[in-house]
Symmetry: C2
Subunit: 300 residues, 2 copies
Amino acid sequence: MSLIVICSVAFDTLETPHGRRERILGGSGTYCSLAASFFTEPKLVAVVGEDFPEDAIELFKSRGIDVQGLKIQSGKTFHWEARYGDDPNQRTTIKTELNVFGDFRPQLPQDYREADIVFLANIDPDVHEDILSQVKSPKLVAMDTINFWIKTKPDPLLKVLEKVHVYFGNDEEIKTLAREPNLVRAGKKLLERGPSFIVIKKGEHGALVLGKDSVFGVLAYPCEKVIDPTGAGDSFAGGFLGYLDKIKAFDKEEEIRKASVYGSVMASFTIEDFGISRLKSLRLEDIEKRFSQFKKLVSF
Amino acid sequence: MSLIVICSVAFDTLETPHGRRERILGGSGTYCSLAASFFTEPKLVAVVGEDFPEDAIELFKSRGIDVQGLKIQSGKTFHWEARYGDDPNQRTTIKTELNVFGDFRPQLPQDYREADIVFLANIDPDVHEDILSQVKSPKLVAMDTINFWIKTKPDPLLKVLEKVHVYFGNDEEIKTLAREPNLVRAGKKLLERGPSFIVIKKGEHGALVLGKDSVFGVLAYPCEKVIDPTGAGDSFAGGFLGYLDKIKAFDKEEEIRKASVYGSVMASFTIEDFGISRLKSLRLEDIEKRFSQFKKLVSF
């Protein structure tokens, strides 16, 4: 049982219209596991350098995150620098220093290999295959990727997709991978490649979840205060998968719907402050309150 | 009682990835009144040239649309030419020949002046004032406009806004008019200028409806077949206002929510074929069926 999250843990330097933060804790694994930690006890798989601070590891532990799979390697931690415009979708990457993340080839600790849910985030598709071979009999494999891998390694990626149950992608990525300009048709084409659900993340416009015979739409929470959009998508995945792991549901459509709303709820909190600040101060009752507000938001 | 629609009636020449159509019936008034005609008997106010075909007028009449306010003037009908890319949001206007629409100064027929609902579409804001002075005691004034007027006549526009109950705009227009980059805050700023509801149209991402103490989100129907996006926004307004006129509700939040869904339903049909083709073949049961599908789409 449990959820393993194979992602990056990084330092982020971020500039938004609301300020600048230097080398704060970031990376998809950080956002995803913190968001999931409100629902379950995720197991993190990532690599950091010797410069990675002890208090960040303590933070993970304090949230019940298993860090056995967090490898500390000689060298520096992955560092990413980006700037956002007035429109949160306008993001410019200024620097990507992969450092120890560059040749990350995860070896899963023994008790991670029994996981129910495996989340493969933005890593080389060839590494995805290797990780999956280490997990005994996962009930749900989820994957997220980025345009870089879609463009450079589409074939290995489509091959991994055959083993994936839930695929997360943004609208651009889904269209590119499916080679189809209509978003719904693109999602349906990817469903034919294996996954049971395609979760199309649309940023401030929410997400569309396509199943074999179902369509579900979840809005993004209408935020008046978007301080830093970093980590929204990873928080979505964390809320989504954390919820499914908590209730031990792996393919029920009604639970996938709720999981999507929890995903959108977690993303809506993350963007309210820089980095993981809002996730750190968050309480379970804030999450449940916003979940109810999502119901009200779409009821007619 | 009843709904008056003050809009353009035009010929459109359209090119989309699915084909090209020359000088087909279009204009905001055409889409809006046809969409509204499934709910009520709208009264059209527009101007066309001597080249306007009799069968188009017959079509309006056959749908129960009052055409007393459709003035035929010496000269040519408004002609607009546009091209869409693979992404339906990529629209290039190729030609705008205003012709008789250029100096459109509507005089409302006597029985139009008793209207409950007035829809002021994309016309010079100074003309809006003049029209409103002709209507006795409207219960709901709705307005839509375009970036051209927002940029060239923001002050007269904001003045009209004081008399408007429902303002329709796309996300870009709302942000520009409010001079605020955050969409939700922009909408709230406009609410302070008079309207009870701001309907933010987001194309394929649906719409956000902001009230003084409420937020409602409606999705766009996930269409696999977007043949021609022209008229989606006007069909939304037609469905929205037609429904409110039918049930004689003018400010109840729960009815505004349903009206928004009917708006999105009508828009979703319009884009399934070129011009008004889909609206012509549409039946009431298609509308009700899709309304139910919208419920299913967001339920969790």
